[in-house]
Symmetry: C2
Subunit: 364 residues, 2 copies
C-alpha cells in the first residue's frame, strides 16, 4: 500500500554536498522529515542552519531511530565501516543505502536484506554542505545495486523516494557498475593526469613551461587532471582492481594502434577511427527515449530478490523505470508491482523481459 | 628595408578552410594581392566568389609567378610533394611555407633557404573554404620551423605577414614540434578513440548501448573521438614515429600507476595526483605575459640561419616575438634586426639569449 509520503522519515549520515542535497530535496520534494548526523559538529550545525535537515542527531544511532530510509553519505574511505555500523543500529523496516562511487566494497558490508548500494551521478567532485542544492539530482542517473536478498518492499521505497527528488534510479550489478565507472570516470582521470605530466616533462627543459595555445583536445582531455587529491585517492584505491582491469584493456588496445602505426597500416587506422565515431554516437548520441509513460503490472511472489531481479534486468537492457509501486496481496504471499516506463518501445521491451523472467505481466 | 605592404604578392596553394582564411586575412589585413590555386576547380571558384583570393590560377606555376610569400595548404598527405613542386616553380625571392600539422616530413622536402615549415594552431578539424574567416588566426600560435639554411630576409617577411594577420608566430625545431603535437593533440585523439571503444565494448551486451548521464570527464575526454577520418588518418600516419614514442611513454607511465594501485600505495597515488595538478597549472595556468612592448635591436652578420637561430632560441624559452623587422647595412654584409617583445621580463630574457648567441643587442 502506498504510504502517506508526508511522514516518511529519512536519516542522512554525513551531511556534505551529497548528504545535504538529499536532505534538502527529501524535505522539499518528498515532504520527508530528515534527521542528520555528521562527525563534524560544525558541518552538522551548518546543515541544520541551511535547512538541509530538520533535526541534528547526537550520534549515528540517534539519527537512525525510527528512520524508514537512511543514506550513508560519508567520504568513500569511511563508507564500508559506516554502512556496517548503520545496519547494526537501524530498525528492521529501514532501507539503507550509500552514495559511494564504487559498489563492490559496500556490497560485502551491506549483505543484508535492508541494504541497497547506491551511486548518484551528480556533484561528486566538490564538497561542502554550503553547495547543497535541492535540484542537484534532477535528471541524474542514480545507480542502485540491490543484492539477491534485497527486500522488494524496501527497494521500492528507496526507488520511489529517489524518483520523487528528481533522480533516475537505475539498477545495475555491483561488478558492472565498478567496471563502468573505471572506464568512464576513473580511467579518464588517470589519463588526464598522465597527459599533463607527459607534456610538462616534454616542455620541462624550457622556462617557463607554459604550453602555447594548443587546440581544444588537450584542454578537454586534461580538464580533470589533479582533481581533489583526498577524494580521488579514495576513489582510485577503492576501485583499484576494476581500474587495473581497465588500464590493462586500454594498454592492450594502445598496443594494437601502435602496431598499425609501426607497420604503416593506414586503412586499419582509418577503420578504427570510423569505429570510434560510431561508438561515440551510440554512447553519447541522440536524447532519451520519449513518448508517453506506460504502466505495466506484474504479479510476483513475495520473496526477497524478486524486485531486484526485475530492476536489474530492465537496467541492463537500458529501460528506465520512471516510477514503481508495490501492492502485496492480503495474505502477503504474493503481490503486484506496477512499473511506469516511458515510450512504447521501452514498455514493450520491459514487458518481454518481465515475462521472460516468469512473471505474468499486463499493460494497465 | 620595409617593403610597402600594399603590394605584397601572396600565393595560396590549396584553398580550403586554412588556405582560404589565409587569403581573406592577407587581403583585408595585410593589403596583399592573393593568387590562389586548387586542384579542385569548384573549390577554386568558390574561394574566388567568397573573396578569399584576388585571382584564380590555372596551375601551381601560374599561382607562384611573382609571388613573394607562398603557402602550401593542401591536405597533410599531399604536403611534401606539393612543397617540392612549389620550390621548383617559385622564384628566388619567394618565401614558401606550409600549414601541415607535422613538420619533419616537410623539413626534408623543404631543405631550401626559401622554405620555412609552418603550422597554425587553428581550424584544423573542419574543412571547406565556406568556413574561411579573416579572424581565424587571431591570437593563435603559428609554429614556424626554420632550418639552418633559412634566409633571414625571407623568414622576417613571413613572420611579419603572419603577425599582421593576427597570429603569434613562434619558432620551434621540427623534432620538438612533432613530439609536442604527438603529446598534446594526436595522443589525446588516440585516447579519445580508445575510451569510447572500450566503453562501448563494456556496454555491448545490452541494447541500446547508450551510456547513462555520466560525469563530464568522459564527455570531455572523448569529444574528439572519431574526428574526420581522412584528415586524422593522414595526421596519425605522417607523425607516426613521434606518436609511437608518445604512446610508449604513456604506456610506461600507465604501468607505473598500475603498480601503485596493485600494491595499494595510496600515498604514491596522492603524490602523483598532486604533481598532475601542479603540471596542469604550469601548462595551462594564468594568462600570457602582459606589459608594454619593448624593442630590442640586434646586430647580426648577413648569413643564412642567423634569424632562425635567434627565433628558435626565443621560441624555446617561451618568449613571444610580437613583431620583427630586418634592416641590412648598405654593403649588405650585416644588418640590424629589431625584435618587439611584450613585458620587461620577457624582453630581458630575450636580450640575454641574443647576447648569449654572440650578437650585440640593445634596447631601442
Amino acid at each position: 500500500m502506498r504510504r502517506g509520503a508526508r511522514f516518511l522519515r529519512v536519516a542522512v549520515l554525513g551531511v556534505g554536498l551529497i548528504g545535504g542535497s538529499i536532505g534538502l530535496a527529501a524535505r522539499r520534494r518528498a515532504h520527508a522529515e530528515v534527521c542528520g548526523y555528521d562527525p563534524d559538529p560544525e558541518v552538522l550545525a551548518r546543515a541544520l542552519a541551511l535547512g538541509a535537515i530538520d533535526t541534528a542527531a547526537a550520534d549515528l544511532s540517534a539519527a537512525l531511530a525510527g528512520a524508514q530510509v537512511a543514506f550513508v553519505a560519508t567520504p568513500v574511505g569511511a563508507l564500508a565501516e559506516t554502512v556496517r555500523a548503520a545496519l547494526a543500529a537501524a530498525g528492521t523496516d529501514c532501507v539503507l543505502s550509500d552514495v559511494g562511487s564504487t559498489k563492490r566494497a559496500v556490497a560485502d558490508a551491506g549483505a543484508d536484506q535492508r541494504f541497497v548500494g547506491g551511486h548518484p551521478l551528480a556533484g561528486a567532485e566538490t564538497a561542502g554542505v554550503e553547495h547543497a542544492r535541492e535540484d542537484l539530482f534532477d535528471g541524474a542517473t542514480w545507480y542502485l545495486t540491490p543484492g539477491p536478498g534485497t527486500s522488494g518492499v524496501l527497494y521500492e521505497r528507496l526507488h520511489r523516494l529517489l524518483a520523487s527528488i528528481g533522480a533516475r534510479p537505475t539498477a545495475i550489478d555491483p561488478e558492472t557498475h565498478d567496471r563502468l565507472m573505471a572506464c568512464v570516470s576513473h580511467l579518464p582521470h588517470v589519463l588526464a593526469n598522465l597527459l599533463v605530466t607527459q607534456a610538462a616533462s616534454l616542455l620541462g627543459e624550457a622556462e617557463p613551461r607554459r604550453l602555447p595555445a594548443v587546440g581544444p583536445s588537450f584542454r578537454d582531455a586534461t580538464r580533470v587532471a589533479g582533481a581533489n587529491t583526498a577524494i580521488w585517492t579514495d576513489i582510485y584505491m577503492s576501485n583499484r582492481d576494476a581500474l587495473i582491469a581497465g588500464i590493462d584493456e586500454l594498454a592492450a588496445r594502445l598496443q594494437e594502434v601502435r602496431g598499425w602505426l609501426l607497420e604503416g597500416q593506414a586503412p586499419a587506422v582509418a577503420a578504427w577511427n570510423d569505429r570510434a565515431r560510431a561508438d561515440r554516437d551510440a554512447l553519447l548520441g541522440s536524447g532519451l527515449a520519449g513518448g508517453a509513460v506506460i504502466e505495466l503490472r506484474a504479479s510476483v511472489p513475495n520473496r526477497p530478490g524478486v524486485i531486484a531481479e526485475i530492476a536489474l534486468a530492465l537496467g541492463h537492457a537500458g529501460v528506465n523505470i520512471v516510477d514503481m509501486a508495490l501492492s502485496p496481496s492480503e495474505d502477503n504471499s504474493q503481490g503486484v508491482v506496477a512499473f511506469w516506463i516511458r515510450g512504447d518501445d521501452h514498455a514493450e521491451r520491459a514487458r518481454g523481459l518481465i515475462a521472460g523472467l516468469g512473471f505474468p505481466v499486463v499493460q494497465a
